[in-house]
Symmetry: C2
Subunit: 280 residues, 2 copies
Amino acid sequence: MRSRAQNAELALLLEVAGTPKPGNVDRERDLDDLHFEHFLAGAVGSQDGLRAAEAGASVGEAFETAVSGMSEQEGGNTQFGCLLLLCPLVKAATGGDLSQEGVREIVEDTTVEDAAGFYRAFDHVSVFVGEPPGDADDLDVRRGSDAIPALRDRGLTLYEIMEISAPADGVASEWVSGFERSFRTASRIEADDGPITDRAARAFLRALAESPDTLVAKQQGDEVASEVTDRAAELVEADASREAIGDFGDELVERDINPGTTADITAAGLFIALERGVSP
Amino acid sequence: MRSRAQNAELALLLEVAGTPKPGNVDRERDLDDLHFEHFLAGAVGSQDGLRAAEAGASVGEAFETAVSGMSEQEGGNTQFGCLLLLCPLVKAATGGDLSQEGVREIVEDTTVEDAAGFYRAFDHVSVFVGEPPGDADDLDVRRGSDAIPALRDRGLTLYEIMEISAPADGVASEWVSGFERSFRTASRIEADDGPITDRAARAFLRALAESPDTLVAKQQGDEVASEVTDRAAELVEADASREAIGDFGDELVERDINPGTTADITAAGLFIALERGVSP
C-alpha cells in the first residue's frame, strides 16, 4: 500500500497531469519557462518533506524540507502552495483523522517555530506574493528567514500568520476554514468517474468557477480574477467540450493568467481522494 | 540533492513524459488500458524498492519490493523492465562506481537468492514474456515463486538467469553486456540539448533505430521488430519532424506494436544522465 507521503507525492503528479486545466501547466501544456518536467522533479524532490510529515515532524519543518527539495529544478516555484496544504493533511491522515476537524486541529496546534520554518522556506525559492498588510512590513514573507526575529518578537504561530494572509490568499484561507474547498474537491473527484486525471481536471474547473483564484487576483487584479471565475462558471454550466475549455486555456496563457491557487486546492483534493481509496 | 533512489524514480517519470516515443505511452499518448497516470503511480510505488537498493538491499530483494509497489495501480505492468535495470544501477551509483565496470560487478555478484526475488516479482504483476528455452520449462518465469525450488536445485544466480534470457531479451542482454546500451543512451542525453524529456525522446528513437526491440520481437515476431527498427533508422537519418515521428507512432499503436524494451533502456539512460548532473 502506498504510504501517506507517497499518496501526497502522487497527488502532485496527478494534479499536473490532469488536462485541460486552463492557464496552468498540464499534460498538454508547458509555459515559457515552466515545464511539465519541472513539476515532475518538484514532486519527487518534495518526497523527503512529505515523509518527514508522515514520520511526525512539525508542519513547519516538514514544509521547509519539502520546499527545499521541490526547488531542485530549473523551473522555480512549482508546488509551494500545494505543499502548504499537503503537509498538514499528511499529518492529519497519519494521526488517523483525515477530516476537516482533524486537519483543523493540526493547523491550530502550529507554533512560532512552525512559522519560522514557513519563512525559511522562502529562502529556497522565489514565490509570487502580494504586498503584506499595512502594519506588517517586518513580516513580509519576501524577507525569508530575515523576518524570523520579528516573528518571534510578535510571538506569531503559523496558524496566526495564515489568519493574517487568509483574506487575500486562497491557500491560507483553507487553513482557517478547515480545508473546506480541499475536502469539497475530494468529494467531487470521488463522485465523478473515469480516469482520475480527468476527474481532477473537471474538479479544477469547478473550483475555479466557484471562487476567484487569489494568485490571479494578486498578479492581475480582482477584476480579472472575477472575470476568469465567471468564464469558468459559464463553461461548467454549459458542460463545455474539452476543446472549448482548451480554447479558454489558450486565452488565459496568452494573457499570462495562471490560476495556481486553484491548482493547489486540486492537489489537496486529490490527496484526500487517494487516501479515501480512489486510485489510478 | 536528490538521492539515488529519487533520481531513479525521476528517470521513470521523465521516460514516460518524453514524447513522441512511437508505440508507447507518453505525455501525448495513452494506450487502451494503459494510461499515463498508471505510470505515474507505478513510479511512485517503486520508491520503496529503489530506496532499499540505495540502502544496501540485494538486487533481488530491492527489485521484488519495487515491482510489488509498482503494481499498485490498475494498468498492470508499467515499469518491470526499467526496474530490472535501475536496481543494479542504483546500487552501482551508491557504491561510488556508476560505470559499465561498476554495474557489471554488481550484477555478476548476484546470487540464487537474488534469482528467487526476481521470480517472486512475477507473482505481483503479469508480464509479457516469451517461451522459456527448450530445456528450461521448470524455470518458466510465468510460474513465479513456484519455480523457486527448481531454481535452487539448479543453483542458478540471477546473473545466470539473465545469461539464459539474454539472446531473446534486451533487458537481460544489458545485464550481460555491462549495460552498454544504457550508458550509450545516457551519453546521447548528455550530449544533446533542450528539455531533458525531448532529449529522452530523441535518445529513445536512436536506440530503437540501432537494434530491434525484443518486446516487439516476442509479441509480433522478428520480422516486425526488424521492420520497426529500419523505419526508426530512416526517421533518425532523415532528422524527421515531430509530426513524422508522431505518424509513425500512430501506425505502431494501430498495429499494437509497443517497443517497451527500448523504453526500459531509455529510463536506465535517463538515470545515468541525472546522476551525471543533467537535470530538469
